[in-house]
């Protein structure tokens, strides 16, 4: 499984007042099993980009290939693409509508024409992947759940379609720290157990640094940078010019390095930082 985006351009309201170029010649690839993080200032084109990956938007020009198949020429069945590429929008809990959690999660698989007998198993599996128990909440109303639970139910609704690619638009926006951590570990679990491509957008640089294999930086409808989190976050000045930060651990380590030159660290996570500090203090191991 792979995704290839070639020279993608999208213009909102062409020929109207408020014509905007939301994407301008964007090209990149995502390889099998990769976790790709996308960062960028509000309005840089991230959400527009995501909507092209499962055919919700048709590009003004350019192509998107999913698993070698072009999805932008209008020849593929959209239902097939949407089954393959699961897209979870920002605040997905606002899309819940069924009477029970189980029915809501079953909405996607049912739309793809899956047999009724297999649906319950799908729903059970999807709910357990997001850390919820079918027997406990399957029959309750989705509107009775807590914010974090609602969001996980909505994500389960997309996972139940067994996508080969999971796209998440700001999966942790507006959650309290506990729910935030739960969503992050849930994304890791999904990635480990399903082995699928995960693409996610986040404004939380800590999340980006700790989850992604590769990072794409969007700025003014174009890809401004791409590379491993280490590479991308070493350009802190360029990122600042685009209105973006480095992960908090990185900025703390930079301040420490300014005060104590013997502690030089490129750490992005707390574990890496702890190791670097330990190494920098002689005799600490004893």
């Amino acid at each position: 499984m792979s995704i290839e985006v070639k020279n993608l351009t999208y213009i909102y309201n062409p020929g109207m007042p408020g014509e905007t170029r939301a994407l301008d010649g964007v090209s990149f690839e995502v390889h099998d099993g990769e976790i790709l993080g996308i960062i960028g200032h509000t309005g840089s084109g991230k959400s527009t980009l995501l909507q092209h990956l499962n055919g919700l938007l048709r590009p003004t020009s350019g192509q998107v290939f999913v698993d070698g198949q072009c999805i932008t020429d209008g020849k593929v069945r959209l239902v097939d693409i949407r089954r393959k590429v699961g897209l979870v929008f920002q605040y997905p809990e606002y899309q819940l509508f069924e009477e029970t959690v189980a029915k809501d999660v079953a909405f996607g698989p049912r739309n793809t024409g899956l047999e009724e007998s297999k649906i319950e198993n799908r729903v059970r599996a999807a709910l357990s992947l997001v850390g919820l128990d079918y027997d406990e909440i399957g029959e309750s109303s989705p509107f009775e759940l807590s914010g974090g639970q609602k969001r996980r139910v909505a994500i389960a609704g997309v996972l139940a379609m067994r996508p080969s690619v999971l796209i998440l638009d700001e999966p942790t926006a507006g959650l309290d720290p506990a729910a935030h951590r739960e969503i992050l570990s849930m994304i890791r679990t999904i990635h480990e157990s399903m082995g699928i491509i995960i693409i996610f957008v986040s404004h939380n640089m800590g999340d980006i640094a700790s989850l992604s294999d590769r990072v794409i930086v969007m700025d003014k409808a174009k890809i401004a940078m791409s590379g491993t989190p280490q590479e991308v976050f070493s350009h802190d000045k360029q990122l600042a010019a685009m209105g973006l930060d480095v992960p908090p651990v990185r900025s703390i380590m930079m301040q420490i390095a300014a005060e104590i030159p013997s502690i030089q660290s490129n750490a992005l996570t707390t574990q890496e930082a702890a190791e670097d500090i330990r190494r920098a203090i002689p005799g600490f191991e004893q």
Binding site: V79, F89, Y94, Q95, F107, G108, N111, F143
Partner: protein
């Protein structure tokens, strides 16, 4: 798709029409609607259409923009056209099985369709060239005399402001929900009428919940800023009649006279 509906939308600009006082435009629009019902022959419509196109040209709102937004409304007009066409008795023009078109039916259908098209474009010219907030300010001022007999004019104006303000918000919300459900494989475009109606449930329920959430947030935000109704409230921008409004008023009176006169000239057909 849903974003294309521009009914009630504002088209930013700085034309003589945009600069008119909202009250002038409200009265003008009302007058125009009444005049469309005074018209009793096609000459009247020719004059009314000419006046409307003059206003559109003066406002510099692209014709394409106006019509694109009204495509949904034109379906309703087509429907009334067909109803009139087949339902009126009279001299038979064409007959096939149970369908009959009469001369009277055809003439009434055309007449009504033209009237409706002019009516809708005419009133959308008002909303296209007036900011919603100016519109409701103007309405509040116009309704003020009725406040003496207990009409809650400020509240009516506020309700209208909120309704107009939230049309784009709710459309955006609808668009988002449609996309989210489409991402889950929902199909809104195929199936018979019943299936299509059923496929709207996944949109309508989240939309309903969203609108309650939005309403509650708005109420809280207004209370937090000490909103307590209209009494004793002053305005930052008082609206004033200008030179343009005088010219507009004179033109309106002349136009009214012309329309009334058109009743007495022999019809085109």
């Amino acid at each position: 798709m849903i974003r294309d509906i521009t009914l009630g939308q504002y088209y930013p600009g700085d034309s003589p029409v945009h600069r008119l006082d909202a009250r002038t435009k409200i009265i003008g629009t009302l007058l125009y609607i009444i005049e469309l019902f005074i018209v009793n022959n096609y000459w009247g419509f020719v004059i009314a259409a000419a006046a409307l196109f003059a206003v559109i040209a003066l406002s510099r709102v692209p014709v394409k923009f106006i019509f694109r937004g009204l495509s949904a409304v034109f379906i309703i007009i087509a429907f009334t056209f067909l109803l009139n066409l087949f339902m009126v008795d009279g001299r038979v023009l064409w007959h096939w099985k149970f369908l009959t078109i009469t001369y009277e039916g055809l003439s009434r259908a055309c007449f009504m369709a033209i009237r409706l098209v002019l009516l809708i474009i005419g009133s959308s010219m008002m909303t296209l060239t007036t900011k919603p907030i100016e519109l409701t300010d103007g309405l509040e001022k116009l309704l003020k005399p009725f406040g003496l007999i207990g009409l809650p004019t400020h509240e009516i104006a506020l309700m209208m402001t909120i309704a107009l303000r939230f049309i784009p918000t709710l459309m955006e919300e609808t668009d988002k929900i449609i996309k989210a459900q489409e991402a889950r494989g929902a199909d809104f475009e195929s199936g018979n009428l019943l299936q299509r109606a059923k496929s709207l449930i996944p949109i309508l329920i989240p939309l309903f919940i969203s609108s309650f959430r939005i309403a509650q947030d708005l109420a809280l935000a207004m209370e937090a800023r000490c909103y307590h109704g209209g009494s004793g409230r002053t305005r930052m921008n008082e609206i004033h009649f200008g030179k343009g409004d005088v010219v507009a008023a004179i033109l309106m009176v002349i136009f009214l006279a012309v329309i009334i006169a058109s009743r007495f000239i022999p019809d085109l057909f």
